[in-house]
């Protein structure tokens, strides 16, 4: 396990090394999370690298990533732990005769019969991990309340077994697409990080990092186009992930330049709604013939 980072600079460089280009605040908040052991609430539009940040942190700190994907109706049995009742039944049947209830009871509520779910795994793990709770806004408030105990004390109470406390301190990242206002209590316990679409130069660097073979002029133009598309009122504006996909596709096609034809042909990579497609071809596609296209 790597030692906790000593400065913001170190985190920034470390993340860079594992292939994630952090913005200034991203590096700072990651650093604080590692030092203070507080969970981080990451918000922002879809596809700006919220989940990727957790993965990169795990790689950088050389920790295991435990991921809990949230969805509507997620409950404790799926998030914390569950008794493996099939195994318990087998155990009871195997020595049905001659053993008192007391002994059987002691026996079947042991850690052997416990099914660990992500939160439990993260807390019980002997090595420190990075815990990613993805799309927390999809769950309901009851689940959020349950999460509070885990996040503030890093412990889980199991009635039959007692309390399980974290031996090591996991780094916790919660991501949210902001479809629902999270409770104040949860926000209060977290550091807050807002990730937005990156600046032009920053995105250019990201694209170059992921497809280094793409020529400079094409990459720059690609980023400018994506920024332009984002300006439009679309159902789903293209995210960084889509810029990267587009760059890879252009590389595969061996495109030397993005002209109107390549643009319309590969448009479906960055725009994913029919109505959006029309809007983009109409507003952006036409402009490609103009001076911007030749720059």
């Amino acid at each position: 396990m790597a030692a906790p980072p000593a400065s913001v600079q170190e985190v920034s460089e470390g993340l860079r090394e594992v292939g994630y280009l952090p913005g200034e605040s991203t590096a700072l908040v990651s650093y604080l999370a590692a030092r203070l052991g507080k969970p981080v609430l990451v918000e922002g539009p879809a596809g700006v690298g919220k989940t990727e940040l957790a993965k990169a942190l795990a790689r950088y700190l050389d920790r295991r990533l435990v991921r809990l994907q949230c969805y509507e109706g997620l409950d404790e049995a799926k998030a914390l732990y569950e008794w493996n009742y099939r195994k318990q039944l087998l155990r009871i049947q195997a020595e049905a005769e001659g053993i008192g209830w007391q002994e059987v009871q002691d026996d079947i509520f042991g850690s052997e019969f416990l099914l660990e779910r992500p939160l439990m795994t993260a807390i019980a793990s002997p090595e420190p991990v990075v815990l990613l709770i993805d799309e927390i806004d999809k769950t309901d408030q009851e689940f959020e309340a349950m999460l509070l105990e885990v996040l503030s004390d890093f412990q889980i109470s199991i009635p039959e077994l007692g309390r399980i406390e974290a031996t090591t301190h996991p780094i916790v990242l919660l991501t949210s697409n902001n479809t629902r206002e999270l409770t104040e209590a949860l926000k209060r316990r977290c550091l807050y990080l807002w990730l937005d679409y990156p600046e032009l130069e920053h995105e250019l660097a990201i694209v170059k990092l992921h497809s280094p073979d793409l020529s400079d002029s094409v990459a720059r133009k690609l980023v400018e186009l994506v920024a332009m598309v984002r300006e439009l009122d679309l159902k789903k504006p293209p995210s960084i992930a889509e810029s990267i996909d587009w760059a890879r596709a252009l590389l595969l096609l061996g495109a030397e330049d993005i002209d109107q034809q390549t643009f319309t042909e590969t448009l479906s990579i960055i725009v994913k709604h029919r109505t959006d497609l029309d809007v983009v071809t109409e507003r952006v596609g036409v402009r490609l013939g103009s001076p911007l296209g030749t720059s």
């Binding site: 200034e24 908040v29 650093y31 902001n178 926000k187 300006e231």
Partner: protein
């Protein structure tokens, strides 16, 4: 005053602007500052932001308060310590070349060079502040200097071709320059009086609904997109959580036959979201246009939540605009289309509620029924004309529910020519001048019964 006190005061200021800063958040901030070198202003600011501002809205307020607070704190400390800024801008000779200064400032605005803009702001104050020594109100002075410099966002074709102002200046450049002017004037005032002026609360407009054409359309779009997403998921959430359920006797009895007449399985009535039929009437006279069009686009973005929706705009007359919204998705195009085609202004351009009710009644009277919902958006300012609340009452009685959204704060209701109290007897009136209020209203509208 040490850093801890300053930070606590900063927390106080954030609270006074409506950001919920708890003691634990402040403790976190202190803990975090232990880990970060505070010599870097960026790091210092980001650290505080990460621990104190827990949503995007809060973050925006945080930025504003942060700038104001630490600027003032630094100035106060400077006054206490007797540090004065010297050097800087001294006017050589009596007259500055004003034309050159104008051009220079415009150039800096175009390029967005912050440091240069700051120097030029001081120069401008020195040049223009002299004439009449300022009005004493900083806001007035800022606008006076801006006008004297001829800084406008619109193109000014009568200027010579070389002038950078000719094509119009970037709007946020001007805004930044104004902020710099304000800051420099404030600094001068603090130095002169050797005390802090009372702090100005943040402009409410920073958080309110768009009320003028100057407001950024992109910001409006973001709000609408967000609202759509939230309202979309909101229905699901309420359906999933069936706390109170009404027993469906008929189905329960039927199910009980399996068990020899014992109601073992209780069947409940399904919860269905309300899908109201909606009639929206929006005032589009100049005072409330933006709020109206904004509101209409939000409703139309959500049109699938309603069984049927018809929208009307009115000033002196009323006109149906449902088709405009079906065809156009773009907010800007919609407002243009309405201004051009609706033909609702007659002679004076002032709202005439009496006539509007009358026309509305003839238009839709036969269609109205108890499951219809009428929403009126307007400031209820009749410009001295007869409000005809009787007609309104008649329409409201025919419809199931009637809401009135007033884009003015409740404080201004019934002052001047506002006659909202006459209408309020027949409908539920809401104030609706922030996006939050609007969101709450739309939620209430679609809540399952």
């Amino acid at each position: 005053m040490g850093l801890p006190e300053s930070l606590l005061q900063f927390g106080e200021e954030l609270r006074s602007e409506g950001v919920a800063v708890g003691t634990s958040a402040l403790l976190d901030a202190f803990a975090a500052l232990n880990e970060v070198p505070w010599t870097e202003p960026e790091d210092f600011r980001e650290t505080l932001a990460a621990t104190l501002a827990k949503s995007q809205d809060d973050r925006r307020v945080f930025e504003l308060v942060f700038d104001r607070f630490f600027f003032r704190a630094a100035e106060l400390a400077a006054v206490r310590e007797g540090v004065r800024e010297d050097g800087g801008v001294e006017i050589a000779g009596d007259e500055l070349d004003l034309e050159a200064l104008r051009a220079q400032i415009a150039q800096a605005l175009r390029e967005g060079n912050e440091g240069q803009m700051r120097d030029l702001a001081r120069l401008a104050i020195a040049a223009f502040g002299r004439q009449g020594e300022g009005s004493g109100v900083i806001g007035v002075d800022v606008q006076r200097i801006r006008r004297a410099l001829g800084l406008r966002a619109e193109p000014q074709p009568d200027l010579p071709a070389a002038d950078p102002r000719r094509e119009g200046l970037p709007r946020d450049g001007i805004r930044r320059f104004e902020a710099l002017l304000r800051r420099e004037l404030e600094r001068a005032q603090i130095e002169r009086t050797e005390q802090l002026p009372p702090s100005r609360p943040l402009n409410e407009l920073d958080r309110a609904l768009p009320s003028g054409p100057l407001q950024d359309l992109a910001a409006v779009h973001r709000v609408v997109a967000q609202l759509k997403r939230r309202l979309k998921t909101q229905g699901q959430e309420q359906r999933g959580r069936k706390r109170r359920a009404a027993v469906d006797m008929r189905r329960t009895m039927r199910a009980s036959l399996e068990y020899g007449g014992v109601p073992v399985v209780i069947k409940t009535k399904p919860v269905r979201p309300r899908r109201p039929e909606i009639y929206v009437l929006c005032d589009v006279s100049t005072s409330v246009t933006s709020a109206s069009v904004f509101f209409l686009s939000v409703l139309h973005a959500l049109h699938d939540a309603f069984r049927k929706m018809r929208s009307f705009v009115f000033i002196e007359r009323i006109s149906e605009v449902t088709d405009v919204f079906v065809k156009e998705r773009d907010f800007r195009a919609v407002s243009e289309a309405i201004a051009r085609d609706a033909g609702v202004a007659d002679i004076s351009g002032y709202t005439d509620y009496g006539r509007v009710w009358q026309e509305f009644q003839t238009l839709v009277e036969d269609d109205l029924h108890p499951r219809a919902t009428i929403i009126v958006l307007g400031d209820a300012r009749t410009n001295g004309r007869d409000p005809r609340a009787d007609l309104f009452a008649h329409v409201a009685a025919k419809a199931g529910r009637t809401f009135w959204l007033n884009p003015e704060p409740r404080l201004y209701w019934n002052y001047g020519d506002s006659v909202i109290s006459a209408y309020e007897e027949h409908c539920q009136a809401f104030e609706c001048w922030t996006t939050q209020q609007l969101e709450d209203f739309v939620k209430a509208l679609t809540r399952p019964t």
